[in-house]
Amino acid sequence: MLEVKDLHVTVEGQEILKGLDLTINAGEVHAIMGPNGAGKSTLSAVIAGKEGYEVTQGTITFEGKDVLEMEVEERAQAGLLLGFQYPVEIPGVKNIYLLKAALNAQREARGEGEMPAPEFMKLVKEKIAFMKMDPSFLQRAVNEGFSGGEKKRNEILQMLVLQPRLAMLDEIDSGLDIDAMRVVAEGINSLRSEERGVLLVTHYQRLLDFVVPDRVHVLVDGRIAKSGDADLARELEARGYDWVVEESAA
């Protein structure tokens, strides 16, 4: 479903990704791990279309379409959704407004009509209960005054309502206590399906105890230095990253 080939990305003149290859098939959960500064967040930011990243070489295709040719909103409408490490506060825009506008934009892109209000409200109420969030969050401005954990739950809530084809979650586990981690992990697990892919970007193995990945990749100096199954994450937890860094340098 997602194919990244020989991706080179430059930020402010400095090359961050130096020939990254990654293939994610439908039904798979991939985790990208690695030391700080390896370029983990750059990958998901480039796929989502954030400004300031220059792709100097390589391709990204999603279900056969050239992602780099698509507008930011077109990528989301196609089902590529990014959950932010630091979700932005949007004063004055109620959560419910965001969810409705986003869902209808996707439906419109697919040639479907707007979801009727009662059906929409039922869907949102169900998802917010699943995320153990108070319904009052719907009436609050997006992320404004939310704690770190609440912001992350809110990112997952958006995923549950929007049901992306590929959910990319950038350090969704940072700043979460263990209870919030469980709720967020349950949210991610509920997204797992035959038709959907998940890309987790994380520094720590902890999240992967709750969301067991099919594939784990270690990103070192802009390239995938090592790939394996869930056992690789456990090995990294026990041994740290240095041995992979040394292996890849050798």
């Binding site: 989502a48 279309g49 954030k50 400004e51 507008e71 930011v72 909103e73 990528r75 989301a76 409408q77 959704l81 990014l82 932010f84 979700p87 932005v88 949007i90 004063p91 004055g92 825009v93 109620k94 419910i96 407004y97 965001l98 409705k100 506008a101 986003a102 209808n104 934009a105 996707q106 892109a109 707007e114 209000a117 009662p118 929409f120 409200m121 319904p135 719907l138 009436q139 401005a141 997006v142 958006q158 929007l162």
Partner: protein, 458 residues
Amino acid sequence: MSDVQSPSDDVQRFLARLAQRNAGRGPEPTWITARRQAGAARFEAMGFPHRRVENWKYTDVRAISRGDFAFSDDASFSPATAAALTLPIEAHRITFVDGVFSAALSQLDELPAGVSLLPLSQALDENHEAVGGPLGRLTGVEFSPFAALNTACMEEGAVLRLAPGTLVDKPIIVQFLSRANDAPVMSHPRILVEAGARSQATVIEHHVGEPEAANFTNLVEEIILERGAILTHYKLQEAPLADLHVASIHVEQGRDSRFTSFNLNLGGGLVRNDLITELNGQGAEATFNGLFYGQGRQHVDNHTLANHNAPHTTSNENYKGILDDRAHGVFNGKVVVKRDSQKIEGYQSNANLLLSDRAEIDAKPELEIYADDVKCSHGTTTGQLDEEAVFALRTRGIDTQTARGLLTLAFAGEVLEQVGLDAIAERVERAVAGKLPERFNLTGLVETAAALDEMAGE
């Protein structure tokens, strides 16, 4: 008329229209005739304001001064069109069409005891002396050339009187409809509100009209709040985009009175609003909420002034401006604390959002303090939409225009949340969202929020 018009030609053209009008008038009380003459003399002496005058520095009134406007004589207006344009709420209603009173479009039959709401002409017929005392006391011919012109030309308007202790449940709507005429017309309405001690009411001044209209409205409004009176005043200005609109509201507040103003300005091609309160009694409180939205080449000038003439008085102002295209906005807010007006609080805040590179705002907050034990603050900010927030919305599949619309609505929302009348809040919310370029229409969202509120209330 020569091709080159001099400023005095402009003044003479307006005075000629007035002379013509005066020739057709029946007998009037002598005080009215005297004031007409004083107004005309003052207008002639001052001429139209030019931009070298500090108070008019940012506003060019030539669209008015170079025009030629007749007076209107009839108030015919399609009831169906009126119903579509006006606020669909339960209210006492007095209606003017191009300044002319329309009995057919007014609802004055169910006024509660203690409330008198009359067209000015009728109030004068019934007891002209009772009108002559307060009328023009707050806004005299010296206030501005437009106030002088209004005094010279005044004919019609609304007189609202609330007896002491009267509580009016339903809002009182004073609505002005502008017609698409073959030739443009002008009107010089007066509004006089006398709120007796401890009375309470909500007044909605609504300007709206046929989209093709291009008339000139020059309004003078005076509001007197006796001790403990509470008045909420909405000005919903949705005049057609070619309409020219100059208006002043001058308030006098007695002890412990409370005046809350919502100045919601969406329409008009050239607009100048003056809002002034005299806080004359201890415990008097004034709140000025403002929202102006400009698009195309609209020019919207808001001047406000809070005069703290007595100790222990409070003023609080929050104005928001949203300007798109080549619109030009002006915010000039002033707080004056007189000598010995101790223990007053005066707060003022203005924020502006520029949606286009060619939109412009001139913002000037002013404080003049002649007392030493006061709490005052003021500030103004002007910015553009938060591009990080625009990106965050786009990553959820929302296109750039809608994202910008949502954020614009959010900016306006800070004032709209203070609006106690849902019918007005929703209308402005829809107007601000719906007026944004095509596909910007977020009305569905507004409806969803309403549905959610209902659900929460179950």
